[in-house]
Amino acid sequence: MKKITLLIVLSIFSVLSFAQGYNVGDKAISFKLKNVDGKMVSTADYNNAKGFIVIFTCNTCPYAVAYEDRIIELNNKYEKKGYPVIAINPNDPEVQPADTYELMVAKAKEKSFTFPYLWDPDRKVSAVYGATKTPQIYILNKEGKDLVVEYIGAIDDNFEDASAVSKKYVESAVSALLARKKPSPDFTKAIGCSVKKKKV
């Protein structure tokens, strides 16, 4: 009997933990979070943007670190075309001490980030979006007053070696949106570090 209860509890837990977050096609919430320069950044401030490349990332996850330069390149390439990068750190610094606000400021300075790097320690945004790992990308497209999720997944198909990449998922998704087409693929997966949150 005890085992059956455990089984039921485990299955409810697994359903709950996978049922949250956005799918492609969903309307996404806009957000306003504190940037590494101390100011608040809101998606509503970007009047000229056509959408956003929202990247959940963090300071020390090796997969996130391996993508830092590629994230900077994405912003350099697509901000002027209307799809700026907004990076968000979803980790709770009490669980991952490498992700304090101060260390985020240091990271942004060290890498000369050209985009906002926002602090979301209590997962106000990342929990709603359903970010489970870093790095994880959500490409949003503005449709009137709405933000619509058009792509969820990886930046490309090689987390270890940028020079060995053959499929640039985010670039091809943004190019599709710029051509008023739907991204294909619109969903990919990649290995990442679990988002650090307190156990509930």
Binding site: K3, L6, L7, L10, S14, S17, F18, T60, C61, P62, A66, Q96, T132, K133, Q136, G153, A154, D157, N158, F159, E160, D161, A164, Y169, T188, K189, A190, I191, G192, C193, S194, V195, K196, K199
Partner: protein, 161 residues
Amino acid sequence: MKLIFILSIVFTLLFYSNQEQAVPIVDFKGLQPYLNKQNDTTYVINFWATRCKPCIKELPYFEQLNEKYNNKKVKVILVSLDFRKSYESQLLPFIKRKGIKSEVILLDDPDSNQWIDKVDAKWSGAIPATIVYNKNSRSFYEQSFTFNELDSVLNLKLSNP
């Protein structure tokens, strides 16, 4: 001359007895057989990396499990997702330093979109992640474990084969 010969044998023996476990480097095709064994053993497969904090925290529990079920038909396999370039500099020294006894495999296949769903469709790609399976059933967990949690999911699998 004879002394040198004997010494070289002694050193060779010392060298081999001190050898750590071999850590094979495989792509996903090479890993797949480990995920689909059809025998009487129950397999506990943990996906981890040396620089993944929650992975390192729970690694001793997998070692403890490996030891506890040593004489049962249970096999623990630790699949490292460290970068290929950190194999010699990080992974092998880590295994030696921690004295890891469970089998370790490096999965060197960075096109992870191609294989994450083949491990389990529910997996987002976040590590740590763990599969507990035998020929009759399979369970997947994208979470961190305590020893007791791990022990109970394995027990569940062993008692309902």
